[in-house]
């Protein structure tokens, strides 16, 4: 059991996948000798060469579209968008070409698209977004968002093994801040939720960096038994795990770091209203970033992204309901 950061866990996952399968290759902007804007691919080009760790032109549609082409002839591309925000430039190739390919033609598209996402460090409107809901809404794409080093590597490994396009959201604010013990060797984490903290009075449902904020909030709530459910996979959504937790606690707070409207949490809330109405002892509450671009200045950014303190307040209100 080694202790690795969230970032190192992703690097480990890439290295092991490339070691294990020569069809796996990595490409993106500055991912080669430079090791990527966040150094996730540092050392990989040295180890695997320039053909398998490819620096690309600044061309997001080019990266995703060529990855689709390589995938349908048997390769296993793992692409990086330098920031998740930039995926908008390749949206069409991902949503219209990659996502619909299997349904239309029967061709498998085993590609992984790594999206360094999220805010919390003054990245501003173009380096802080959480675009996961765009892709949850697009048929044919899987969407995962790990919160721990163990899951980051396991979900990445499972994504690379998956014969479908997988959008892999890696939260930039977790890269070096979060460390954890790792299982030895290669392993897959299922595209399913996990109970990050068991409880009986209230469920907080979150994913990515918000899992840590939710855990921090739960620690502040003396005397209450708060369950934190880490979704890990947004598409598919682990409906049974969500409903099982609601059945246990009867009160739910859903957190999104993403903008509120049509966020992943909206789908979770809708699912609970639809299938667990009789189990509830209170309204399904949501806490999310309002529908604004993520501002740069620290007090402005902190005003919009859910904090542990605001999560704790929302929990108290629900517990008192």
């Amino acid at each position: 059991m080694a202790v690795r950061t969230y970032l190192q866990a992703i690097t480990d996952g890439l290295r092991e996948a490339m070691d294990e399968d020569e069809r796996v290759f990595v490409m993106g902007e500055d991912v080669g000798a430079f090791g990527g804007a966040f150094k996730v691919t540092a050392g990989l080009q040295e180890e695997f060469g320039t053909e398998r760790v490819r620096d690309t032109p600044i061309a997001e549609a080019g990266i995703i579209g060529t990855a689709v082409g390589a995938a349908i002839v048997g390769m296993r591309p793992v692409c990086e968008m330098q920031f998740s925000d930039f995926v908008a430039c390749g949206f069409d190739q991902l949503v219209n070409v990659a996502g619909k390919m299997h349904y239309r033609t029967g061709l498998a598209v085993p590609l992984v698209l790594r999206l360094p996402s999220g805010g919390g460090f003054s990245g501003g409107p173009f380096h802080s977004q959480n675009p996961e809901a765009w892709f949850m809404h697009a048929p044919g794409l899987k969407v995962v968002a790990p919160s721990t080093p163990e899951d980051a590597k396991g979900l990445l490994t499972a994504a690379i093994h998956d014969p479908n396009p997988v959008v892999f959201l890696e939260h930039k604010h977790l890269y070096r801040r979060i460390k954890g013990e790792m299982p030895d060797g290669s392993y897959e984490t299922p595209f399913a939720a996990r109970v990050a903290r068991p409880g009986t009075d209230l469920t907080v449902i979150a994913y990515g960096a918000m899992v840590h904020s939710a855990l921090e909030a739960a620690d502040q709530l003396d005397g209450a038994s708060v369950e934190v459910l880490d979704l890990r996979s947004l598409a598919p959504l682990d409906e049974e795990a969500i409903l099982a937790s609601v059945a246990k606690t009867s009160k739910v707070l859903v957190i999104d770091e993403a903008n509120r409207t049509c966020a992943a949490g909206a789908e979770v809330a809708s699912l609970i209203a639809d299938r667990a109405f009789e189990l509830l002892d209170g309204p399904v509450r949501r806490l999310a970033t309002p529908d604004v671009p993520i501002p740069f200045s620290p007090p402005l950014e902190q005003a919009v992204i859910p904090t542990a303190q605001r999560i704790a307040e929302a929990c108290r209100e629900l517990l008192d309901y």
Binding site: A61, G65, T66, V68, G69, V73, D92, N96, T105, L107
Partner: protein, 349 residues
């Protein structure tokens, strides 16, 4: 991987010319029948054809080897599907939204590609598939395979950013890609004068790529340019942009009377009909024989297709994800006599 024969004589023998004539007549005949079925209400959606452009998709794919990829034929490129060996009955089943082995009724009626014969179905956003072809070529080169990827697109597609990204990417990595610009002078209703200044084929040089312009209504010119591009591509010489000049003889789709195309322009290009030009070389008797063959093939395919069931509505939600063995692009027919590969066999189910 078979290689092209040495250029010591005319690369196209009589069987090639006859085969191309057959494919071009088949394309025109299938599309005429498709249009007729559309007017009878048997083809849902609208219907789109490539009348007058038959020499481009037939000539270009005639130069491809079995393991090469086509990503993708557009709505004017039925000939590419036919040359690669796509089953005719499947095509009519597909047109009519019936159960079929290519698309299971999920794909738009003139948007399809039979992966089993190395053809990727197009998407409506052009030229997206040019980027995909670039990625296919990149994989071929990474694996050291002597294969190339060919992509068709129109004059209007040269305005989009994906065109630039594909041109730049393919040139930068010297990929075995062939880009066929089908300049039919109109992007839906917009003439090229409303699309760009200058000539797109000249842009190739700016990317560090060879660019050639050919008469798109001369199947031999299209074939020869594609053959040369392929030879260069598999030898490591990088991509080529081929402009094939033509005119779309029908509207954008069956709903479009193309009244915006001047009558004299249409008449001018009608005199350059690619099938008539090839028939002059093959002979009138042979043309009559080919036309009779084609009619019989189409009659049989339509009859078989009309008896095919519509898809089971329960299957509408199936197949979004790959859940079994991942399928990759297969190999198609390579009918050119220059390849030492036997004649096409029908795609396996």
């Amino acid at each position: 991987m078979a290689k092209g024969k040495e250029r010591d004589s005319d690369p196209l023998n009589f069987d090639d010319l006859r085969g191309q004539l057959h494919a071009m007549c088949l394309m025109r005949g299938v599309e005429e029948r498709g249009l007729s079925l559309y007017k009878q209400g048997k083809v849902p959606g609208s219907f789109y054809d490539g009348r007058g452009q038959e020499a481009i998709s037939v000539g270009a794919t005639w130069a491809l080897d079995a393991a090469d990829a086509v990503s993708s034929p557009l709505i004017r490129d039925l000939g590419a599907h036919l040359v690669r060996g796509t089953d005719l009955t499947d095509i009519f089943r597909h047109y009519m939204g019936r159960e079929n082995a290519i698309s299971h009724g999920r794909e738009g009626n003139v948007h399809f590609g039979d992966r089993r014969v190395g053809v990727v179905g197009m998407v409506s956003m052009l030229p997206d598939m040019m980027v995909v072809a670039t990625g296919i070529a990149m994989a071929f080169k990474m694996r050291g395979e002597a294969r190339c990827a060919l992509s068709f697109f129109g004059d209007g597609a040269t305005s989009r950013g994906d065109w630039h990204e594909a041109m730049n990417w393919a040139a930068l990595y010297e990929l075995p890609a062939i880009f066929v610009l089908e300049n039919n002078q109109f992007a839906y209703s917009t003439p090229t004068s409303g699309q760009y200044l200058g000539e797109p084929v000249k842009r190739a040089a700016a990317y560090g790529m060879d660019g050639v312009s050919v008469d798109g209504n001369d199947v031999t010119e299209v074939f020869e340019a594609t053959w040369a591009a392929r030879e260069k591509a598999i030898a490591g010489g990088g991509p080529t942009l081929i402009e094939a000049r033509t005119l779309r003889m029908h509207g954008h789709g069956a709903h479009d009377d193309a009244s915006y195309i001047p009558a004299e322009l249409l008449e001018d290009w009608r005199r350059r009909d690619p099938i008539e030009r090839l028939a002059e070389r093959v002979g009138a008797d042979e043309l009559a024989t080919v036309e009779a063959e084609v009619k019989a093939e189409i009659d049989a395919a339509v009859e078989a297709a009309l008896s095919a069931p519509m898809p089971d509505p329960a299957t509408a939600v199936e197949g979004v994800f790959c859940e079994g063995e991942p399928q990759v692009l297969g190999e198609g027919a390579a009918p050119w006599s220059g390849f030492a590969i036997p004649a096409p066999v029908a795609a396996a189910a």
